[in-house]
Symmetry: C2
Subunit: 348 residues, 2 copies
């Protein structure tokens, strides 16, 4: 067992505090990673505050992990010490399912979350990236292209793939009109990725406060959803709308923005049910769907795509001692566009 | 102008009564049809009772029309007197849209309903199939295969295509598990068509009262949705669920019956919004969609498919004098499985 240092939540109502814990002994198929950066995802906050009613404390959050390989097991073939790697939202999955259905294991039972979960043995706790090291099976470790900075690559492992996967699945590309609802940590990645795929991207944000950024990152148009005119002007416009916000919005008004056969895809999880009127779907064969992160294969594909197009997240780097303050700012959407923890600060 | 005889609604609260009216003079591209049979669709009832708030009286309902061509205009090339033909839910559409997008004109603005609508001139009322003749543009007339009886073919023009289109669009076929919710006029067509496409069909009906019929028509399995065990047993089973009922059901429970990437397709229009929880969609990339009848091209394809597989509706034939009584029985689901009016009874 190796000793790891990190920050953990010990209770739903307490701030994260320094925490020392054991990482499991690496097996032959494991990769040991020195974590360099960890992104802060909104779901980290939901989890540690037990808003999803599944918290098992203590919890070291973090599933946007970028680091350097420090050691590999004897059976590892794809990585060696010194490699630049990433780990995302899960670190194991049902082997049977994965074998049958390699490219959507994220939807299969048996998925092992990167933190607040148990390894396949049912006993060993998983702990996440707000820490200085992690031991992960080779099959769940991805390469980060050499031309991408590690810090701004960390958010690709969750925010990036969460947008990349639906953009690909619903065929965003040249000639496709795509709207991204919400210009935050997820949304800004949708703008960058969708534009790089060649799609015609429109941002639908509550206000125009981030319009300049949106256009700079690749959006062709940017509209305020607080303006009723937006819904009149854009009626029947989009092939695909990806909704990154979990606030209560006027869902049927957004469905009205779709073309015939258009798809509205939810990647956030609103607390309440979405009241969809059949009249919003039937007369245009429209759909409302959900999408959740991506498979390991697809995540590597996304990282390679980002390498080719020089895409990373827009970040604000913080020391780990600022993590609780950063959480408060995430809740106020006061970050452009993702916090990344510099894990070197743990040693401070 | 030719004089037509039929039955019409003159008010939301009154029964249908005999009605004489003028059919327009045929143009060069028109087909004149002696109507032989007209199916009774639930939407006829919604319309004449003004439940959709769009009734313009008097209304001759009926958009499941089967008959024989009596005359054709000089420019008509596909039909001649004596041909067996059908007319469905619309008799014209936006020419520009149709030209651009031939196979989904049913979703485009400019659609002209077979009844309770106005022709493209904005003045001439359209009146439906509960009558002895109709004048329809060639492009909206379909051939009924010689081997199919005219009476039981009439319901194919709405009930048939309403199920055929989503079954095709969502790729029902060998290896696909498809559930049909509701075993009525629409549902029983879904069973027949889906089974003929090679899909593995399950009926989900409130009770098992029509189980024997369902299995006979091609379903492999038949479950009662009033039994909670059904939802446990069938969790994660279906690639496609087509919902033909417009009652309030436990939508999220039905979404739980889908596999990863499964689609739930609504073809009925429930009065209230469907409360879909994002947790029912996101963790399996599931979708809820709507589908509405089909294009003219697709409807002809469906009729040809039915000819090849000897598929027609299960019907109960009535005289037109019984139409009001039949409406009451439709509302009680007391018909196996579609009423068809024998138009010859108009002369009685």
């Amino acid at each position: 067992m190796a000793i790891a240092k990190g920050y953990a939540a010990t209770d739903a109502s307490k701030p994260l505090t320094p925490f020392t814990f054991e990482r499991r002994e690496p097996n032959a198929d494991d990769v040991v990673i020195d974590i360099k950066f960890a992104g802060i995802c909104h779901s980290d906050i939901h989890t540690v505050r037990n808003e999803w009613k599944n918290a098992v404390y203590p919890i070291v959050p973090g599933h946007e992990i970028a680091g350097i390989v420090s050691a590999v097991g004897s059976a590892v073939t794809r990585f060696k010490a010194g490699d630049r790697v990433g780990v995302g939202c899960f670190v194991d999955s049902c082997v049977g399912c994965a074998a049958r259905d390699l490219d959507r294991e994220q939807y299969m039972p048996g998925l092992v979350g990167t933190y607040n979960d148990f390894e396949a043995d049912g006993k060993t706790r998983t702990q996440g990236g707000y820490s200085d090291s992690i031991v992960v099976k080779e099959g769940y470790v991805m390469s980060i292209p050499d031309n991408l900075p590690l810090d701004a690559s960390a958010p690709l492992l969750c925010a990036g793939i969460t947008l990349y996967s639906p953009l690909r699945h619903w065929n965003a590309g040249p000639g496709k009109k795509v709207a991204i609802v919400g210009m935050g940590g997820l949304g800004h990645m949708g703008v960058k990725l969708g534009a790089a795929m060649g799609a015609d991207i429109t941002v639908l944000s509550q206000s125009l406060s981030k319009k300049e950024d949106g256009l700079k990152l690749g959006a062709k148009e940017y509209y305020a959803t607080s303006d009723e005119e937006t819904f009149k002007k854009l009626a029947g416009t989009f092939d695909l709308i990806i909704c990154t916000v979990s606030a209560e919005i006027d869902w049927n008004a957004y469905l009205g923005l779709l073309k015939v056969d258009g798809a509205f895809v939810v990647v956030g999880i609103p607390e309440n049910a979405i009241p969809v009127h059949a009249f919003s779907l039937v007369p245009g064969r429209k759909s409302i769907s959900g999408s959740m992160i991506g498979s390991i294969k697809e995540t590597q594909e996304m990282l390679d795509f980002c390498g080719k197009h020089n895409i990373v997240s827009e970040i604000e780097t913080i020391n780990i001692q600022q993590v609780n303050e950063a959480y408060e700012r995430v809740l106020k959407s006061d970050v452009r566009y993702r916090f990344v923890i510099d894990i070197a600060s743990l040693a401070a």
